[in-house]
Amino acid sequence: MKLLTPAILVLSLLASGAQAATLKIATLAPDGTSWMKLLREAAAEIKTETEGRVNVKYFPGGVQGSDKSVLRKMQIRQLQGGAVASGAFAQIASSTQLYSLPFTFRNLEEVRAIREEFDPYIIQDLAKNGYVVLGISEGGFAYLMSNKAIRTSSDVQDRKVWVPEGDMISQTTFENGGVSPIALPVSDVYTSLQTGLIDTVAVNPSTSIALQWHTKLDYATDYPLVFLIGMMVVDDSAFKKFSPADQATVKRVMAATFAKMDAQNEIDEAGARQALAQNGIEFVELTEADKTAWQALAKGAIAALADKNVYPVDLYKKLQQRLIELRQAK
């Protein structure tokens, strides 16, 4: 008996150090999309490599509610993770908004150069708040799309512009341009385009097609407005229950998957842009003067957002400095 007790103790200690558990992760991304296919492949790989100790289970298509409800459910431990848009973390970690300010980037090349240096700030900031970042994903650039050609800020003032509910950056940007935008959840956008409640949206090409908004729009202003970012996070306390080796496996597999997703997203955005043109959407080119005017407008919005503490001002200045250096080096 005396011999048995320590043996059992050792066994149970080992077991608690390497518990089999499920990470329940919710997302708005519908099942069957290339994004979800890659995530499911990653889950299978993780399960195999950890010999079943880590089981990743997804709830796709918004079955667990909006990004906001996913984060709430994570707090009450109903879910361990979520793959959500960066905006969902606006109130939690302001660094998550770093890439989301208007007209910051001119192209994907700039985004990628910046991410290398600045992703770690976002990851650390979320870690301080109890979230482990398993991946940051690129969603491409959002463009202004409308049923009338938009070249200048005065063109947009006549439009009925949609902004996502609770999206402080979009709201402030348009208000700063003299527009009173209409805030709606994503679920209402298609119907509102149909009824004419709104006629202008800022969206990336692939989403405009996936949600069929493009059928209600005729023009896209060919100047990237804002870069879209998503993040997959898990609750720190749930993640720590896995052994360090299993944690490392999950992080490694997910990092490789997110790299694949970014490559896929780049292909998707290029394909979707071409498809928009093939299906009757006219891309409106801007003159240099128009672009400068939009930039000036954005500057005002970014200053206003700094006053509201929406993003980390010093870090953003550093990012802008890097962009200047990158552009000069060309």
């Binding site: 708005l28 519908p30 099942d31 069957g32 290339s34 709830f59 298509g61 918004g62 079955v63 509610g65 909006s66 959840p185 994503v186 679920s187 209402d188 956008v189 298609y190 119907t191 090409p205 692939s206 097609i209 996936a210 949600l211 069929q212 493009h214 059928t215 998707d268 394909g271 979707a272 071409q274 498809a275 928009l276 093939q278 299906n279 009757g280």
Partner: protein, 265 residues
């Protein structure tokens, strides 16, 4: 005279195929029939019936028996080409309409066409749906989805039970592409699946399988999912015009049911 007797061949062959009990027989036999239809279309290039029969069979083969994605794409492409030729033979305006804006297509269908026109539009819409299904990696294909919905909705407005209520099944699938959080209307899709089941007295088993696969999975309703699949498996698949599809539905039901716990729990 020869053309006249040959003319009945596609519809009779199609009928005997749809009533076939063993999908393997059809899988093995269909390629020969595809070649025969190609030859008939070559011989009678303006014959809408041959073009439509060829489109239907290539479309069905792409969706059900294709060995890989590339074969499915090429078969679906051929189905689409034949359907387009049939539609253009049938009506010049319709031929232009389907390539134009969605709203114009919608308006013209209700103003300028009636129930006499549904066969060609339905065949075209089915080929189009199959082509999009085979090309989901192509944004240009996905961008055209709303026009298929417009065509199918118009067909169903004239004949809700068209093609053994398969028109309702198409609409069910089309309406369950997106969750409500992204603006989808899965409840509308559910209503179409239920209508298909009701209109065929439960004989269209593919309606039940796609109801489970599309709606129940999207809305995370495991009980409904498993019940529909169990019903499919215990049903008699034999029904005029649906036997082959029902056999395939049962095969799919097995697979979906086996994945159920993994997906929902």
């Amino acid at each position: 005279m020869a053309a006249c007797s040959v003319g009945r061949l596609p519809s009779n062959l199609s009928r005997s195929m749809m009533n076939q009990d063993d999908p393997a027989v059809v899988a093995a036999g269909a390629p020969a029939y595809l070649l025969l239809l190609d030859a008939l279309v070559l011989t009678y290039p303006d014959d809408e019936d041959f073009l439509l029969a060829a489109s239907r069979l290539y479309g069905a083969y792409a969706g059900v028996f294709a060995q890989d994605e590339e074969q499915a794409k090429s078969m679906a492409d051929k189905a689409m080409t034949y359907a387009r030729r049939a539609l253009c033979e049938y009506d010049d305006d319709a031929c232009r309409l389907v390539d134009g804006p969605a709203d114009a297509l919608n308006n013209a269908l209700y103003l300028d066409y009636d129930s006499d026109d549904i066969a060609v539009f339905y065949a075209f819409a089915s080929a189009w749906a199959g082509w999009i299904q085979a090309n989901t990696d192509d944004w240009n294909a996905i961008a055209q989805l709303s026009k298929v919905t417009i065509l199918m909705t118009w067909v169903a407005s004239h004949d809700p039970a068209y093609d053994n209520a398969t028109v309702q099944v198409y609409l069910g699938v089309l309406e369950t592409q997106l969750p409500p959080s992204l603006g989808g209307k899965p409840e509308a899709g559910r209503a179409h699946f239920e209508r298909a089941i009701e209109l065929t007295d439960g004989h269209n088993l593919m309606a039940k399988v796609l109801f489970a696969k599309q709606y129940a999975r999207l809305m995370f309703e495991q009980e409904l999912h498993d019940r529909l699949l169990q019903e499919t498996l215990s049903a008699d698949p034999h029904f005029e015009g649906l036997t082959l599809i029902n056999r395939l539905a049962q095969r799919q039901a097995h697979l979906l049911l086996a994945e159920s716990a993994d997906y929902f729990e």
